[in-house]
Structure formats: structure tokens, C-alpha cells
Amino acid sequence: MNRRFPLVLVAILALVFLGTVTRGLLMNASWVGPVSAATKGSEGLRVSTPEADTTASLRVHEPVSSSTPATPVSQKATATPAAAAPAAQGPITVNGVADIDPAKAFGSKSAPVTMEIFSDFQCPACKQLFTTTTQRVMDNYVNSDKVYIVHRDFPLPMHAYSRMAASYSRAAAHIGKCEVVEQALFQNQEKWEANGDVKGTLAAVLTPADMKRVQALVDGRTLEPLIDKDKQLGQAIPVNQTPTTIIHTKDGQSYPVVGFVSYDVLKTLLDQLVK
């Protein structure tokens, strides 16, 4: 076997070299070219002609409520949903993306890029995407009016409490507490998925008055059709796994990104698209 040792060593080194070269080639900036047209599977995407965005930015910069526990809330992430006010606002269309619930969308409607994120509150990869990538996109792109983020609910049947979490999250979004509640649900995912205590998770970050309003909306079931609509939109794409992010540009192009994607990788695409 001693005679074989150098060969094995060479083989291992060759594999390491191959991996390094692969990575190096992929990260070579000279490869970056212009982004052009159609994407794989785009025929299944809802790509439409971008509409003239005549609506002024509805982004509202609202200070975090003093009654809201500040710990989980990023101080920079102050972009609140366009419909923070509970007044019922119907679905809107931005960058050709229709049926957007403004209560679950963040940023400027005139942003050059719209990110549509289909996620499930009980999916670990969705948690990872939200707590790492999405938060940084919020800080660096949404707050500078470069990206408009739309959160779509896509609760999977395999997860016992994800639909309940979606219902509570939607209700919280409609009283202007979308971000704080989404953070609480994702950051405490392991806790509430063990016992189904979604309500308790929200109660820990909302005031009793807000919690009462959320509970009334959940009990009234008036927002359930919005979750069903998101689910239908996802199935039409089709979304085969969560998270799935569809990135839309103003010129009508759509880029589906399936699964978790790190901020550094997503940044390369966003930087190309927001130019």
C-alpha cells in the first residue's frame, strides 16, 4: 500500500485543485456579461409587459413603535409595508407583478427590480433566507429604493402549522406589523413548530391591543383568500419548493431563483439588474 500512497495523495490534491479552479472560474469578474432575455422555464412565469409606474412611492418610513420590543427589529429596516394603515387596500400591480397585497410588500413601487418571495414559515431554508439574505436586501436595496419586495405565502401541506403562521402573519401585516411578526416567526421557528404556539410567538412581540386586533382578523378569516391567492399564483408558476424567489425587472424579464441563495450571490444579480 505504501506504493499507492503518492498516487492517492496526488488524487486528493487534484480534486482540491479542481474544486478551487471551478470556484475561481465562477468568481472571475470578467465572465460577467450583460443580462439578457428569457430565462429557463420563463414560459411558466407570469411575465408581462411592465406597466408605467405612475403611482408615487407609497413607502412609509415609520419609527418602530415604542410598544414593540425593539430587540429583534433591525433599526435600519424601517421600510414598512405600503399599506401599513389598516385601511383595506386592494391588490396592486408593480413591475408587471399582479395581485400584490400591499400589506406584505416593502419598498418603493418605482424600484427597478421587484423580488417576489414565495416562502413557508415552517421551512428551515425560508428561515435562513429571511434571516440572512432578505434582511440584508432590505437594508441595502429596499431602503435605497432599488428593490421592491413582495412576500408571498406558500404554506406547504407537509408543515402542520405553516398555514396558521401565514394567517397570523397576514393579519399582523394588515395592522402594519408585518416585519416584526415575520422576524418573530422565523427566528423562533424551532419553538413554535414543536408545539404549534404561533399565537404565543406573536404575543411576545405585539402589544395586547395589537394582538387583539390580529386575533380578530384571524378569527374573521377575511384575509384567508389573500393567502389562497398567493398559493394559487405560486402553483401557476409553478413553485416546486420553498423558498422560491422570482426577480422581475422593469423591462419584463423574470429570473426565478429556487431554494436558498446567499446575499453575496444574490447581490451579483441584483447589482446587474438595478444598473
Binding site: K40, P256, V265, L266
Partner: protein
Amino acid sequence: MQSAPFNYRRLIIWFGRLVLGGIFIYAGYSKIFAPNLLLHSLFSLKFSILANFSNFGNQVRSYQLLPEAGVYFVAHFLPPAEILLGLLLLVGWRLRVWASIVTLILVGFIAVVTRAYLLGLQIDCGCFGKPEPLTGWTVMRDSAFLVLAVLMTRFAFQEAREPHPWSAAPASEQPS
């Protein structure tokens, strides 16, 4: 010299090479080119591959075994290595070396998959590009692959030590 006929050892070696070679190639390919594959420009292809590495890295991270640098290394190194090893198994050159490495890698896979299963981690296996919950079936399937790899490696060494008389060099050609 005449080719030796199939015996059960050679049959298992051939079967192992085809099955494990194919599976390794598919596993590596699917991690690199799935679930994202945007082909309309070099930039989009590069983005897709990096996104897939990132996605696979998240699956590696979910095993809660490696530091971030280790996750990064495995996510970028393992998929191309799987393709290369699969090809080498199919080609059959230096089979004992590559079969041994494949066996060692499968031992590693079994160890981490079994650990995650016993810990009750609700995670994706990360075995192939598509999400696949880690269950007892995953452990059994990987165990079957390992048994095949061990047999293939053992028989490959045995064949080298004890070649079939038909494929052994004639006495006149053997060094005295």
C-alpha cells in the same frame, strides 16, 4: 491474451462501477445545475451555479457539523469531486484508488446522515439537487451504496492480486 469471462467478482465490480459511477455523476451534476439553471447568458449561468452552491451549502450547514469555512469548502468542492470520481469509476483507470476514495466518502456520508437521523434533525438530505427529507430510507439507501462500494473495492483489490488465469500474463511473459 484472452479476456477473462465474467465471474461474480467481476460482475460486482462492473455493477458497482456503473451504479456508483452513475450516481456520483448525477449527484454532482444535480448539485451544480439544479435547482437553478438559467442558460441565456454566461452571467446567468454563473449566477445559477453559484446560487446552487449556495443552496447546497445551506443543506450542508443544516447538519450542524461544520464551521462556516467548512460549509463553504464542502459546498464548492464536493459537487465537482463527485462528478470526477463518478467519471473515474466509469472509466475504470486505477480503479482500486478511486473505489477506495468513493468508499471513504460514502462512509463519511453514512456517518453524517445517521447522526442527523438519530438526532431527529428535520432537514433536507442534500444528497441530490432537489430537496429530499432525511429519513430512515435515506440511511438505508446510503448503506446499500456503501455495501456495494465496499464489495467493489474489495473485489478490485482481489482481482489485482489474483487475476483470472485467462487474463494473467502467460508464463513466458512473466518475469522469472
